[in-house]
């Protein structure tokens, strides 16, 4: 899978660092590692999960505050997106090139991604009809996953 390619990560990281520099911000290990964790994750992570991953997989402690600040920056730069999971903390994921939706199981909170270009097009059309400039879209289907259908 694309996201798991280590070489691709270094390209992403290099671009990211350049981006930070261009904005007259400072590159730090904290930002790099937070990006790294999101990059190599195959699921949507909460702040707490990011903190744990950093500790367990990379043996580095980064404060919750710093993670929040980094995520806020990454989201503003359109590098990541946040997702509201019912009744719990936000989840974060690296932006892929294509818009996509999520199926969230309200029992086990598992998240499945889906893509559908016909919906994407419809949405653009709808935004147009209402003279809206679309910046972002969230499409979430709540229900019960196969395993939770007791």
């Amino acid at each position: 899978m694309y996201k798991k390619e280590v070489n691709n990560f270094y390209i992403t990281l290099k671009n990211f660092k350049q981006h930070i520099t261009n904005l007259n911000l400072k590159n730090t290990i904290q930002k790099d590692y937070i990006l790294k964790v999101l990059y190599f994750s195959n699921k949507h992570l909460t702040v707490e999960e990011i903190e744990t991953e950093l500790l367990v997989k990379h043996n580095i402690h980064i404060s919750t505050t710093t993670i929040y600040k980094a995520l806020k920056l990454l989201e503003k730069l359109n590098i990541i997106s946040s997702l509201e999971v019912l009744e719990s903390a936000k989840c974060y994921e690296l932006n892929s090139n294509l818009p996509h939706g999520h199926l969230i199981c309200t029992s086990c909170h598992s998240i499945i991604e889906f893509k559908d270009t016909s919906i994407d097009n419809k949405q653009l059309e709808i935004a147009n009809t209402h003279n809206f400039t679309l910046t972002n879209q969230v499409m979430t289907i709540y229900g019960h996953c196969q395993r939770c259908q007791n």
Copy 2:
């Protein structure tokens, strides 16, 4: 508009009261008024707004806690739905018979509703493909409304 019809409201209220009775719960003025405010609102309301409406339009004070509890019940009974507005309190609205999405302006936080059956069908199809039983769907398009496009 349908929702504004007073006579229809009394039918809705009667059904609601029956529903409450059937569940061995108690009917109270608080529940009735909260339903009433949601029924006659033409926009999505936050808890704070509901509280104010109750006070201003109906001259009744209902505690924030009670409103939260009533809303939780109404949502569980599938009478209302909540909507996450970016970085602020949840908004509540009476369920209409048809699923629909929202366009939210990230500048002025105004909300426009839209309906599109082709998207609804696609969503059912997607849920099916993933062996998911759909209970609810949220579709939100974020962007800038006509007025906020400076």
